[in-house]
C-alpha cells in the first residue's frame, strides 16, 4: 500500500487560481497515453456499460440508473448457499466538525476484478479481488481537513463513490474538491476545487462521467447555498459549464421568488445525488433539493424554482431543456434529489423517466418533454397532500395564484409546529432504487415515517455563512420503520410491498430474479424479485448504509457491499429507531459468493 498524496502537494494545489499550473501537471502526468496493455474507460464503454456484465463501471451501473446486473450465477434457487468470500477493513471512521465518526455510503465500482471504493472522507481504495482474496493495490488519501468540511455538512461524513474515465479514477471530496487519480499507481494527477465549504457547499455525490466531462452536484441545502450542477472538462480541467438551480434576478424562474429581500440568494436547491444520462438525446437528468430555509416557507413566497425539481440539461452546454417541479414552495424538506431512472417500455414505445421522490410519491414523466404521466404514493401514510392531480402532476392543494402553498399540516409562522408524513427524511432518501427491465419493476427503499416540524421565523439578512439556515427543525415523535416497494412501471401500480422493522438506508441491487439490500441493523438480505420473500440474510455486525453491487472475477459472481453506519441517521434520527443505538461505527467491505 502506498499513500501518494502529500500534504504539501495538495495544499499548494488548493487554490483554484492555480488551476493552470495544476493542469500543466495534468498534461505531463495524468493525460499521458495509457499503457498499451491497460484498458481505458471510454465514453463508448460507459454508454454500453450493460454489455460488460461482470463490471460495474459507473455509479448507477448504467447511464439509465438501473442498478441491475444480468449476472445470473447467483439465483433464487441457490442464494441460500451465499457465504462470505472475504472482507477488507477500510478507514475513514474518524470524526470531524460536528461528526463523531464517518460512515460508508459508497457504491463500489468494478472493472476486470478490481474494485474502487471510497470512504466518507474521500479516500479511494483500489482492491484487487483475483484468486478469491482481497489485496489493497493502493489508497489515495486526500488529507481532508475534517473539522472544516465536517462543520458544514448537515447529514454525515458522506462520499457515495468514484467514477472511471480513461486511465484515471475521478472522485469528489466532501470539502469540495474533484480529484483525478492514476488508476494504475494511485498517484494524484490533478485536483480542482469545485465547491467551497466557506459558503456551506460540500460534495457527497459520486461524479457522473459524460463523454470527457465530470458532472458534479453540490450539497448544502441546510446552509443557505445556491445550488448548481457543474461540468468539468477532464482533458483540460476547465469548467465547461455551471448551471445554477436557483435563477439570478431577471432570469427565467426568478419570478417564482416573490420576496423583496433576495431570498433566492440563499434559496438552496442542492444537487447531492448523482443523476442519469440519455445518450440518444444528449440529456442529463438531475434532481434538485429543498429550498432554504427548509421549514419557514413564508420567508420565500412563491414556487421557488427550480428547487425540488427534475432538470433535463443539455450535456454539452448545461442549458435547461425542461423542468418539472414536484413540491413547490416546500415547507417539509422534501428534496427531489432521487436518481432519475430512464426506462423505455418495449410494448408502448414510451420513454419514461421515473423517480421515487422524498415527498412519498413515485413519478413518471415523459423524458423528452417532461410531461407528467402518473404519480403513485409508495409510503403507507401521506399526510401533507390529499394526492397528486392526475392532469398536472401537482399536489391537489397547489394553487399557482398563491405565494404560500396551503399544504396539509405544514408548519407556519402562525402554527409553529406541524406534522408531516413522510417525515423530513422523506419516503425515500438518497439510497438508490433499482430497476429490473425484464419484470418492469422499480424497487424502492422506503422510509416509513412521520415527524414534527417546528418553524423559527427567519429574518432577512440573518443568514450566516457556515451556519445552519433551516428556519426551524424536525423532531421525532414516533417510531420510524421501513419497507421495500416493487412498483410496476407499466401501470404505475404497486405490485408488491414488504414491511421492514427499520428504515431503508442503503439502497437496492437488482439481478434477474433477486434483489439485495442492506439494513441499518447490520443485516444484508436477498429477496425474491417477484414475491419479495426474504430468501437469504447475513448479519454483518454493523449498520449497512450503502448499496450492494455485483461483479464477476475469475468467472465467479460476487456481491459486494460497504458496511459502516454513518450519514444523518445516527445523529439526528436515532431516537425513532432506538435499537440502532447499539450499532457501533465501522468500516468494512464485504464480498459474498456461492459456497459449496
Amino acid at each position: 500500500m502506498s499513500d501518494f498524496v502529500q500534504d504539501n502537494i495538495w495544499r499548494k494545489q488548493m487554490r483554484s487560481t492555480r488551476l493552470a499550473a495544476m493542469f500543466a501537471v495534468l498534461i505531463a502526468a495524468g493525460l499521458a497515453p495509457a499503457l498499451a496493455d491497460e484498458k481505458i474507460v471510454t465514453g463508448e464503454r460507459l454508454v454500453n456499460a450493460d454489455k460488460e456484465p461482470g463490471n460495474w463501471l459507473t455509479h448507477h451501473k448504467n447511464y439509465q440508473a438501473h442498478r441491475y446486473s444480468s449476472l445470473s450465477e447467483i439465483t433464487s434457487a441457490n442464494v441460500k448457499k451465499l457465504k462470505v468470500a472475504w472482507t477488507m477493513a477500510l478507514g475513514g471512521i474518524e470524526g470531524g466538525g460536528m461528526w463523531s465518526h464517518g460512515g460508508l455510503e459508497a457504491t463500489p465500482l468494478a472493472e476486470d476484478g478490481y474494485l474502487y471504493v471510497t470512504d466518507g472522507w474521500g479516500s479511494v481504495y483500489k482492491i484487487g479481488t483475483h484468486g478469491g482474496k482481497p489485496k489493497l493495490i493502493w489508497k489515495m488519501d486526500p488529507k481532508t481537513d475534517r473539522d472544516w468540511a465536517g462543520a458544514v455538512t448537515c447529514c454525515g461524513v458522506d462520499n457515495r463513490g468514484a467514477a472511471l474515465w480513461q486511465n484515471l479514477v475521478i472522485s469528489h471530496v466532501i470539502d469540495g474538491r474533484l480529484i483525478a487519480t492514476k488508476k494504475d499507481t494511485g498517484e494524484v494527477s490533478w485536483i480542482a476545487e469545485l465547491a467551497d465549504p466557506e459558503k456551506g457547499e460540500t460534495i457527497t455525490a459520486a461524479p457522473l462521467i459524460v463523454k470527457d466531462m465530470a458532472i458534479t452536484g453540490v450539497a448544502g441545502g441546510e446552509f443557505g447555498i445556491r445550488g448548481w450542477v457543474a461540468a468539468t472538462d477532464l482533458k483540460t480541467g476547465k469548467q465547461l459549464w455551471r448551471t445554477y438551480t436557483v435563477p439570478a434576478k431577471g432570469e427565467p424562474g426568478s419570478e417564482s421568488w416573490k420576496d423583496d429581500y433576495n431570498a433566492a440568494a440563499t434559496g438552496g436547491g442542492p444537487t447531492w445525488v448523482t443523476g442519469s444520462y440519455d445518450a440518444a438525446t444528449n440529456t442529463i437528468f438531475w434532481g434538485t433539493g429543498n429550498p432554504g430555509p427548509d421549514w419557514d416557507h413564508e420567508y420565500r413566497p412563491g414556487d421557488n424554482l427550480f428547487t425540488n425539481s427534475t432538470l433535463a440539461l443539455d450535456a454539452d452546454t448545461g442549458k435547461l431543456k425542461w423542468y418539472f417541479q414536484h413540491t413547490p414552495n416546500d415547507p417539509f424538506d422534501y428534496d427531489s434529489v432521487a436518481e432519475r431512472v430512464l426506462i423505455d417500455l418495449p410494448d408502448s414505445g414510451k420513454k419514461m423517466m421515473v423517480l421515487a421522490d422524498r415527498n412519498g410519491f413515485a413519478y413518471a414523466l415523459d423524458r423528452d418533454q417532461g410531461k407528467f404521466m402518473w404519480a403513485t404514493p409508495f409510503v403507507n401514510r401521506v399526510s401533507w397532500t390529499k394526492g397528486i392531480d392526475p392532469k398536472t402532476g401537482k399536489p391537489l392543494e397547489y394553487d399557482p395564484q398563491k405565494s404560500i402553498q396551503p399544504y396539509l399540516g405544514a408548519p407556519s409562522r402562525t402554527n409553529l409546529i406541524g406534522t408531516a408524513c413522510p417525515g423530513n427524511m422523506g419516503g425515500k432518501n438518497w439510497p438508490p432504487t433499482s430497476y429490473n427491465p425484464n419484470l418492469h419493476l422499480l424497487y424502492i427503499p422506503v422510509i416509513e415515517s412521520c415527524n414534527q416540524l417546528t418553524v423559527t421565523p427567519t429574518k432577512p439578512g440573518s443568514h450566516k455563512a457556515k451556519e445552519f439556515f433551516t428556519g426551524g427543525g424536525p423532531k421525532q415523535h414516533e417510531r420510524i420503520t421501513g419497507s421495500i416497494v416493487a412498483l410496476d412501471v407499466t401501470s404505475g401500480k404497486i405490485a408488491k410491498k414488504v414491511e421492514l422493522p427499520f428504515p431503508m438506508l442503503g439502497g437496492i441491487l437488482a439481478t434477474p430474479d433477486l434483489i439485495f439490500s442492506g439494513h441499518p441493523d447490520g443485516k444484508l438480505s436477498a429477496y425474491d424479485a417477484k414475491t419479495l420473500e426474504e430468501l437469504w440474510s447475513f448479519e454483518t455486525g454493523s449498520g449497512v448504509n450503502a448499496p450492494p453491487i455485483t461483479f464477476s472475477v475469475d468467472g465467479k459472481q460476487y456481491i459486494a457491499v460497504a458496511v459502516g453506519l454513518g450519514g444523518a441517521w445516527p445523529k439526528w434520527f436515532m431516537d425513532s429507531t432506538p435499537e440502532l443505538k447499539n450499532i457501533q461505527p465501522g468500516s468494512v467491505l464485504y464480498a459474498f459468493a456461492l459456497g459449496d
Binding site: 470524526g95 466538525g97 473539522d147 441546510e222 429574518k459 426551524g472 423532531k475 436515532m574 431516537d575
Partner: protein, 180 residues
C-alpha cells in the same frame, strides 16, 4: 397538566435543582482536566445543535437555545443535561432520569411529552464536566470571537477564517434567547 402549570413546575425546578449528583457549585473552580473533558463531551454530545460557539440556532437537531446568554447556573444546566427539556429536542442523558427526579415531574404524568434519550448517556462526572465547560467557557461570553473560535477548533483552523477577516461580527440575530 396545562402548559402554564407545567412551566411553573419547570421554573420551580430550576430554582430547586434536584440532581442526585454532588452540587457542581460546591466543587470550586474546575480544573483544566475537567474543562478538557467537558469540551470533548460538548463536541460529541452538544455542538451539533448548540453549535461550536454555544449560541444555538436552527438545524436538523431542532432550534437549540443559546448557552452564551443562558441565565441558568451550573447545577441547573446539569439538571437540563440530565433530564433534557420536555416537549423539545433537548434529550435526557441519564437513562432513568424521570424515574428518579426531574423538575418535580412524575413519570406517570400523561400530559408530559418526555424528552428523547440521547444517543450517548453521560455519567454524573461527565455531566458535571460538560456543565462546567458551558458555564466557564460559553456562558456570558457575548458575541463569539476569534479567540473563542481558535480555542475550540485550534489556532490554524479554516473554520476561523471569517473571524480573522472580521466578517462575523453579528452572529446571533436569528437565535432564540429565552431559557425555558
Amino acid at each position: 397538566m396545562n402548559r402554564v402549570a407545567f412551566f411553573a413546575i419547570l421554573l420551580l425546578a430550576a430554582q430547586l435543582p434536584s440532581a442526585p449528583v454532588a452540587s457542581a457549585t460546591e466543587q470550586g473552580a474546575p480544573s483544566s482536566r475537567v474543562l478538557r473533558q467537558g469540551k470533548n463531551i460538548y463536541k460529541q454530545s452538544c455542538a451539533g445543535c448548540h453549535k461550536w460557539h454555544g449560541d444555538g440556532g436552527g438545524g436538523y437537531g431542532g432550534a437549540a437555545l443559546s448557552l452564551r446568554t443562558t441565565h441558568l447556573d451550573q447545577d441547573q444546566i446539569m439538571e437540563v443535561v440530565r433530564c433534557g427539556r420536555p416537549g423539545t429536542g433537548m434529550p435526557q442523558h441519564t437513562p432513568k432520569a424521570y424515574e428518579e427526579k426531574c423538575y418535580g415531574i412524575s413519570i406517570d404524568d400523561p400530559d408530559i411529552e418526555f424528552p428523547m434519550k440521547a444517543n450517548t448517556m453521560l455519567s454524573p462526572d461527565e455531566m458535571a464536566a460538560v456543565s462546567a465547560y458551558v458555564t466557564n467557557i460559553l456562558q456570558g461570553k457575548g458575541t463569539p470571537s476569534l479567540t473563542d473560535c481558535e480555542d475550540y477548533w485550534g489556532p490554524a483552523s479554516h473554520n476561523c477564517r471569517d473571524y480573522r477577516s472580521g466578517s462575523s461580527s453579528d452572529r446571533t440575530s436569528n437565535t432564540p434567547k429565552e431559557d425555558h
